[in-house]
């Protein structure tokens, strides 16, 4: 069930009405959310309910076991067993064919005769998200950062909670489980803020992300290598598409959850206003980057193990972050590129300016760094290594005449980009996500009306699925 669909609208309206009727009856509300979440997941593919139940049951039992174990060595053994199990499940469904294919290619390259073998494995939606959440649950109990939850139904809801189930944010158990256990209330504040987030998310997805899709496809699905200007325009369009697609999804998820009285984590905070890679990763897909930091980078030693090891840890974390996005070499290359940016950045000491000079240097650094971010998106979006090579060569050599041979985005998308840029800039400068509430009612309503009108214009165009569903 896609957030940007009528089916979801019916699901939400009907579900919210029932939820409101069950006000002050927490366990019934939780039961409704759990059944609704499983129904939501089953709409993607009913077969994978068994998988989510398997992960839920196994991690819950491991958590109970670790909570009871006093001996750290025993706890480590338990956590190791569950981690291996979870990664095997993830590896089988998401990476099996990739590794087999890569091994076969390597063997063929070395001159060995091998028969190509593929298993017909369907990737279960959201598997990376709920496997990571189950891992953080057992790890947090192991570190005694939280007690194991005693109610299985609460834990099951933590894993399956539908607003964040399919494309995140990756929620921490210590943040979400207490909210599941506490009474919740439907308030005017929740409804107004939740509705605004849903509207903003739909606007980003339908108007900008979907609007940019034909431009991006006209460049990256082209059989010939386009000229450098077209490649640049296609890549900028993809930077907008992926940001609005993913942050739009998160906004809708947070908005829907807000209606239900549950706060989900922020996943994006103006990432394209970053002036260096470490700032970018504090602003982009924050729930994944903090997960990788806390459960991979820091256990590897983080930055407490000497300069060289720190760089190696950074690179390893980003390579695995790239692999998390999908079983393909270009994602690994993208991860490696991001790691390289972080390593290079760690050697740079930015000059200290004050006043206007500081502002100018910040703007220049942001614009320059955005070009590096976009080249990363080119690696991410490219269909093959050959395309990456051809596009890079064309960008460097400008061998073809410069002409904008790309599909033009619709008017709604162009207007939408301008509106979003102004909105993000205002929010960034005010430092408050709800800055617009200080505006007088007519002005505030004007913003909502613009978003509604542009969304209606965007709806008149073709649809597309959320990009992050594939991860």
């Amino acid at each position: 069930m896609n957030f940007a669909s009528l089916q979801f609208a019916y699901f939400l309206i009907f579900g919210f009405a029932l939820y409101a009727l069950l006000s002050k009856r927490l366990e019934l509300q939780n039961a409704l959310l759990l059944v609704g979440s499983y129904y939501f997941y089953a709409c993607w593919d009913v077969r994978f309910l068994l998988l989510i139940w398997l992960i839920t049951g196994a991690s819950y039992l491991t958590g109970r076991l670790i909570a009871q174990q006093q001996d750290p060595a025993q706890r480590k053994r338990s956590i190791a067993v569950y981690t291996v199990f979870a990664l095997c499940v993830l590896g089988y469904f998401k990476y099996f064919n990739f590794f087999i294919d890569s091994a076969q290619t390597l063997l063929l390259g070395l001159g060995f005769e091998v028969r190509r073998v593929y298993l017909d494995i369907v990737l279960p939606p959201a598997i990376s998200f709920y496997v990571f959440e189950s891992l953080s649950y057992v790890i947090e109990i192991h570190h005694r950062h939280m007690p194991g939850t005693t109610k299985f139904r609460h834990y099951a809801l933590f894993i399956a909670y539908f607003p964040k189930l399919v494309a995140g944010p990756i929620e921490r158990p210590a943040v979400l489980i207490p909210q599941i256990e506490q009474p919740r209330f439907i308030t005017e504040e929740n409804i107004t803020r939740g509705s605004f987030l849903i509207l903003l998310g739909l606007f980003k997805k339908i108007v900008i992300a979907d609007g940019m899709a034909p431009t991006v496809d006209s460049v990256f699905n082209s059989a010939q290598t386009p000229n450098a200007w077209a490649i640049a325009l296609g890549t900028y369009a993809f930077a907008l598409q992926i940001y609005c697609d993913f942050s739009g999804y998160t906004d809708i998820a947070r908005g829907v959850s807000k209606l239900l009285g549950i706060e989900l984590s922020q996943n994006f905070r103006f990432p394209y206003f970053s002036s260096n890679p470490s700032e970018f990763w504090r602003r982009w897909h924050m729930s994944l980057s903090s997960w990788l930091r806390d459960y991979l980078y820091i256990p590897l030693g983080g930055n407490r193990v000497g300069a060289v090891r720190t760089k190696v840890n950074l690179m390893l974390t980003m390579l695995l972050g790239g692999l998390w996005h999908g079983a393909a070499w270009n994602f690994i290359l993208w991860g490696g590129y991001q790691g390289l940016l972080l390593v290079v950045n760690s050697f740079i000491k930015p000059p200290v300016f004050k006043g206007t000079a500081a502002l100018v240097s910040r703007v220049v650094a942001t614009v320059v760094f955005f070009q590096f971010v976009c080249y990363g998106w080119l690696l991410f979006r490219a269909n093959s290594f050959e395309q990456i090579r051809n596009f890079t060569v064309e960008l460097l050599t400008l061998s073809q005449p410069l002409a904008a041979t790309v599909a033009r985005p619709p008017l709604a998308a162009l207007l939408g980009v301008a509106v979003l840029a102004l909105y993000d800039l205002a929010a960034y400068r005010s430092g408050r996500a709800t800055f617009y509430r200080d505006w007088p009612a007519p002005l505030r309503a004007g913003l909502y009306a613009v978003l509604v009108f542009l969304t209606l214009m965007g709806l008149a165009s073709a649809r597309s699925a959320f990009i992050y569903f594939q991860f």
Binding site: L6, E188, N221, Q224, P442, A445, L456, A460
Partner: protein, 373 residues
Amino acid sequence: MGTTRLKHILFGPSARVLGWVIVWLAIFDLGVSLSFGSRAGSKTSLGRYFEYGRSVEGKLERSMAADPKSEGQILSAGWLSQEELRQRPSRPADGTDLLVAVYGQSFAMHAAHEAAAIDKRITIRGIGGPAAPPSHSYAGYKADVENRKADVVVFGILSASVPDMGSMSGLIWHFENPAPFTFPRYRVQAGQLTEEQPVIRTEAQFKQAFSTRSAEWDRFKAQLRTSDRGYDRFTFEQSPADASSIVRLVRRGWVAHDDGYERGVYDPQRGFDPQSEDLQALKAMLADLGERTRARGERLIVLLMHAKGQSDHLHAALAPSLEQAGIEFISTHAIFSANDPTNFLPDSHYVPAVNHRLAQALAERIRRPAPVR
């Protein structure tokens, strides 16, 4: 509910903001109407953009009121009347040696005319309708038989038009520019291909029924309601709400996101469902066409043409049954990739270079001796 709470809901800050949103939207609506509502304004690209969502009946009314000489009208296209069919060439023109009868839509006609430009000894007799589905082409072949004896029959199938076999008229699936021509709905029932004829079958009949909104028009709409998979009262029927640009945007979005024709027939990832009603009917049609042409001593060539992004899906769905029936075919997937957007014009047709390659393949196939069956 207490009076204070009721007052808060009705007149509180949220209600005030909501009221202002409605005022703003009304202003936008009025602004669009004032900017693009005039005759000159509605001819600009932005004006047309906001016009597209008018109901089918609303658009038809405007089309009929417009001057057919100065404005691109497609009211007359696609009708399968004998009067229309008799106007096409019935034998090879002077200096040519082959009459090639083509049934399809613009894609098939472009390829055929380009093939005739490559091989100047070919005379084309084209029968088609705007984006016509195979059911229109099949009905066209049957209606046209008595008017000619073709050497070669080219039957063009556009992959994107196959799901439109669930329709009986170009009014609905051709929503942005409704073309009223009609054609039968075919189904396979008890192993036999059945035909349901539309209530309205000629342009004159249509104009009379629609302009007077006669009982026949109501009967036609009732037939569409039951026999056209894409019929929807909200998008079809004219109402005062047509005057609102916001309602028009909603209607256009509603149509853009409705996959009424494709549901169960075509999936962008998996391609055509061979068990679907339309695929079954299409296979039966092609088998019947193979027999009819064979009986008349005509040579049949089927053009399998893939629309943008549809890979080789049509070929995958039809090639085995065409081979089994011994019917010659050309599939565009072997000539160019439908997944490469640079092969398509913004209006979704093939770019001239690609069309030329398809035409070359067609011209070459027409001249190649027919395989022995």
